[in-house]
Symmetry: C2
Subunit: 229 residues, 2 copies
């Protein structure tokens, strides 16, 4: 059930009856992504969630608070599904170049799998794209909670793998280029599907995408190493 995907993520802050909160966030994430924030009324959100519209003000302080709660769920999801628990604890500086490279490739695999296969990635992508087009307070939450930290973490790993400085301009840009390869398959999916002649992305297609990105990242990183020796 797609209904429960963030239940586990939110479970740490779960309160007595969390059903209403969850239902509202799920409905809002969907509608804000598909129609936009202004075009989605709290009554419509509440109807889709199957709860009373007054609950939005009670639980989130209002419509804007609900949007920020959506961002919070996205942040938690990205950290858990993209980086994974192991990466959040390991100290990148202590890794050997090859171990760092392997860790990066493992993250690329996780991220590719999530972006191409996970049901929830579609509504997350729409929500995030809208925040990029017209940023709100939720963009702030997404950046501080996910985009910034994830990029920072990847820079540390990249630096360990390539022998550069974690906050050198070249390191940061190289990580953006790597991230771009993965995210493009999610963001521009309609274009990819059409050009590839695909109906869906199953395991076969996912592995093909992952192999291409892995090869590109590995080649780029090894080349970057060579440039410095």
């Amino acid at each position: 059930m797609a209904l429960v995907w963030y239940a586990a993520i939110m479970s740490k802050v779960r309160e007595p009856d969390e059903g209403t909160r969850q239902a509202l966030i799920r409905a809002a994430l969907d509608l804000f992504g598909r129609q936009g924030f202004e075009a989605s009324s709290i009554r419509q959100i509440a109807q889709l969630a199957g709860v009373n519209s007054a609950g939005i003000a009670y639980h989130f302080g209002g419509k804007a608070g609900l949007r920020e709660a959506c961002a919070g769920v996205i942040v938690a999801t990205m950290k858990q599904r993209v980086l994974g628990p192991a990466v959040l604890t390991v100290e990148p500086a202590s890794l050997s170049p090859d171990a760092a490279l392997d860790t990066i490739l493992a993250i690329v695999d996780r991220a590719t799998a999530f972006m191409t296969r996970a049901l929830e990635s579609e509504m997350i992508a729409r929500f995030v794209l809208r925040e990029i087009i017209e940023p709100s307070s939720a963009f702030e939450a997404l950046y501080e909670g996910a985009f910034g930290p994830v990029h920072g973490r990847l820079c540390m790993l990249w630096a360990a793998a390539a022998g550069t400085e974690p906050d050198a301009r070249e390191t940061k840009l190289a990580v953006f280029a790597m991230v771009g390869q993965v995210l493009y398959f999610r963001l521009a999916r309609p274009i990819v599907m059409r050009r590839m002649g695909w109906e869906t992305i199953a395991e076969d297609e996912e592995k093909a995408i992952a192999a291409i990105i892995r090869a590109s990242v590995r080649a780029t990183l090894l080349s970057a190493r060579g440039d410095r020796s």
Copy 2:
């Protein structure tokens, strides 16, 4: 003046009084991108363009026709600014692997310059992102006119450079990965600017981005060559 950027592009199909058409397309591209199609009224578009709102029905048959005209301008702009006249005429199959690689790198440079520096790329990006989130008839025009042909062209060049088949699955995916690197700096610009601590992207920043992408594409392509020999 940003006002005239598509004047040259549209000049081939220019009619007696093209000022109204251009002004309407410019205003619509801006408003559709910033607010969305439904949220933009024809009165608002006409007001921003400084022309009478009845001109929309006269010139484009209605609001939907105006949107398709916006897509047409984007198609013409992308073909001219990203591929360039030289690439549209050359026959990729006749190029040596190194010449094909150089051509790809030249296109990457052109595309990076356009995406990072050109004023009009911002409103184009917003318009295109909205078409990806909720596709309309304009998405069709964008795909058939630009996304599809440009990708096909790049696949031919990639195949010539790497020694693969132009419509092999790996070739097409590798080109998507390459395109993703370039476009991410445009699509996710708010994130990039913030993380890099940049206020604007001037020549210095553009060159830094281009260098990173060039190095990545070159390394990936050379590695792909090696895998086959």
